[in-house]
Symmetry: C2
Subunit: 171 residues, 2 copies
């Protein structure tokens, strides 16, 4: 049997998370002490392990409920989540392109301080992008807005030959 404080330590979660799960009936401790303290059993503990693993997959609490109850629908629920993840990534990629457009417009308008390729690469790598991320970024930029991509590369002072090379790689 575990107290709420022990659960908090074991799972590295906050007390209010467990209070909330109790409230919505996702994980209610199977008993209480005389002084009304929550007591979590081994079963509760194991259930929490499953909940955590679904949370790592970004599944909503109501879908986790469904996963814990039914066996039949569980593959469908997880596949739907997979689909939604792809949509979310695709949205974020579009936002990346939008931001870089906003940033490049800004820099272009301040002609005195126009940005070159190295400064640009530095900003992106400072913000945690790997080479592979940058390649993916070129690809999505090329796929959604090929002309703006060219304009952008030109604005960085990159030569025509290298622009052609980058655009080819982005196919």
């Amino acid at each position: 049997m575990y107290s709420i404080g022990q659960m908090v330590n074991e799972f590295k979660i906050s007390r209010s998370t467990l209070l909330y799960y109790d409230k919505i009936g996702l994980l209610s401790p199977s008993s209480r002490t005389e002084s009304n303290y929550r007591k979590y059993s081994e079963k509760d503990f194991d259930k929490m392990i499953r909940i955590e693993s679904y949370k790592k997959a970004g599944v909503s609490l109501s879908d986790i409920q469904a996963l814990l109850n039914s066996k039949s629908e569980s593959a469908k629920i997880l596949e739907l989540r997979l689909e939604k993840i792809n949509e979310e990534i695709s949205l974020l990629r579009k936002q990346q392109v939008e931001i870089t457009t906003l940033l490049s417009n800004k820099k272009i308008s301040k002609k005195s301080k126009s940005m070159n390729k190295d400064q640009w690469v530095k900003i992106l790598s400072d913000s945690g992008m790997s080479e592979e991320d940058m390649m993916n970024w070129h690809k999505s930029f090329e796929a959604s807005l090929p002309e703006a991509h060219t304009d952008f590369l030109e604005s960085l002072g990159i030569g025509k030959l290298e622009i052609r090379r980058i655009k080819k790689m982005s196919k």
Copy 2:
């Protein structure tokens, strides 16, 4: 001058969005009619255009406020958003791996109905993944959990040679 209904039609947004922007002071119409109807000026209209472009980049409304007010900090705000987008994509990639692990465990446990490569590829492409997405998925799986990646490929009944090929491609 535009009524709230005209704004709704022009920008393809909901009425409650504009009411909310008025409430928080992000975009308050510059005047009202005698009957207390909101009247948006051309300036208000142009401001809304800017707001929309920042929203496309996923910037929060309070950060949009800051972007509209200050010039000095705007590059920093956008770069921070870029950084956050990368974190979010990285989190979603981890969730993808987690989901596929959950799905493959599930399928393995039901040995009678184990899944083969074609069925798996079908699930992923039905859920909107392109070939490129799948390649990226292999890459992130390989980078974060190489052994689980191998186990997973084996569970699909893929031969050792092809597994070696896929893992090489995923570097």
